[in-house]
Structures are given as structure tokens and as C-alpha cells.
Symmetry: C2
Subunit: 147 residues, 2 copies
């Protein structure tokens, strides 16, 4: 299996605002006005499925997901964390880590479900801290490994 | 934190067709005509988030998710596996493990997204083996631990 493929957008592009990059994975913040605290863990080699990773890689991947979730919980006190690895459109392993709030546009639906409401103020403005500070907290939490 | 709560449907009910049960987790098959190869890993103690688990529990949980994914890939050769821990409506930790096919009702959308097509034959009839056999393969793959 090759490590990159030019037809894959997650091989060709960063895929968001780069927060941390390591040889095995990178974390980006997704630009989504409805869900401002939305990060992705992208596995660097081009593999489609979680089960394409060996045990050490799966553990490393979920440690990153876990650390992002922890920071989002502590910084934002969201109603719920949503984790997902779908990839039906872009079959390159990536995990969505999304802080959800009871006031957000789609809650309690999944972000891919039906919109429930329109917000009078931008979602980002309702977060208890600026996104740049949240990004910094994530960078600090993701210093645990150089791999 | 109490281990069960009577207000929680995943504490009160099995939540699907029981495939395997262990002290820490159970696996059920979800009754969904559109997505017949749809399993859930339900964490037995009542916790809301993946990050409520310690490292050993997170590893055990993801090992179960991984083994289900492996069986579904080998038995069904799906277009994609979808993994998700959402819980906005039922905040009791559970993982969705869903085999997706390019012919299924919602592909390439998430199962929570907009329907793409109506099937002339039931989705279950298009699987390469009966669900009871798939359940048996999962039971065999989940014998790895008694915890």
C-alpha cells in the first residue's frame, strides 16, 4: 500500500487549520461556522480504515482523540463530545472530534442530521474562550509524543 | 458516579439483539432495515464520554470496536466502515460500528444524513451471508477476553 495518493484530498492538502503535526498523524481545526470547536485527527499514511492500523498505531491514534476530547471538555464544558470515523467521501482515515452544545444548530441531532435552529449570534462567539486559546491548549496537550 | 441510572435506556434495556456480554461491555446488533450490519458496543457502567474511561478501559473498548470492524470487513467487503460515539440523545457511552455499501440507502452520506435512494430489495437480502452467521463470526472474534 502506498503512503500517499494524489487523488486523495487528505494526501494533497492539510485539510484545515494545522494545529499539530507528527510523522504518524496531524490535528487540524475544521472551518465550520455551526461547529467552531471541531477538530480532526488525520492519519498521515493513506489508509482507509481504523483496522488498517496495527495495535500500536491504533493506540496512538486514540490517545490523540482522547487528549483532544479532554481539552474540549475542560475548556468548553460541552453538552456532549461527538467522535466519528466515517470517510465515505474521503476514505483516508480521519477522526472527527466535535464539541456539541445544547444550543448548537443541530443538537441533539448529529451534525450530519437535520438542522434544529438558527443562531442569532455566531456559534464561535458563544464559546467561553477564543478559538486561538483553545488551539494553544490542544497544542500543549499533544506534546506527549514526537512520533 | 453510580454505575447505572434508571433514567437511561442503555442502563434499563439491552438496546438491541445481544451478541456478547462481558462485565465491562456488551455488543448488540441494532434493528435497522436500512443498515442491517449495524452493531453497537455499549459500555456497561453508566459513563457519558470516552474520556471518562481510563487507559485500560479505553484500550479494551477500542479492541472490541476493532474486532467488530475486522469481522465486518472480512465477511461483507463493505465500501466503508463507519465508527461513531455520539450519544447526544442517550449520553451513555456506546460506539456505533456500521458496514456501509455504495448501494445503501444513504451512501455516501452518514446514516444520519439525507437518504439518497430507495432499495427495491431489502438491504439485508443483499448481504453475502445471513445475519445469524455474521453474529456467530462476531461472537467467535469477541472471545478474546472474559472482562
Amino acid at each position: 500500500m502506498s503512503n500517499t495518493t494524489h487523488a486523495c484530498p487528505l494526501c494533497a492538502e492539510v485539510g484545515g487549520l494545522l494545529i499539530v503535526e507528527r510523522p504518524q498523524w496531524r490535528v487540524v481545526r475544521v472551518a465550520d461556522a455551526d461547529f467552531p470547536a471541531f477538530y480532526r485527527v488525520i492519519w498521515q499514511p493513506h489508509v482507509a480504515e481504523f483496522s488498517d492500523l496495527d495495535l500500536a498505531a491504533r493506540s496512538a491514534c486514540m490517545e490523540v482523540v482522547y487528549r483532544i476530547e479532554q481539552v474540549l471538555r475542560q475548556a468548553l464544558a460541552p453538552a456532549k463530545l461527538n467522535l466519528a470515523s466515517l470517510g465515505n467521501m474521503v476514505p483516508h482515515l480521519h477522526w472527527h472530534v466535535i464539541a456539541r452544545f445544547d444550543w448548537d444548530s443541530h443538537f441533539p441531532n448529529p451534525i450530519w442530521g437535520e438542522r434544529q435552529r438558527t443562531l442569532a449570534t455566531p456559534a464561535e462567539a458563544r464559546l467561553p474562550l477564543p478559538l486561538a486559546q483553545l488551539d494553544d491548549q490542544l497544542r500543549a496537550a499533544l506534546l506527549f509524543t514526537t512520533r
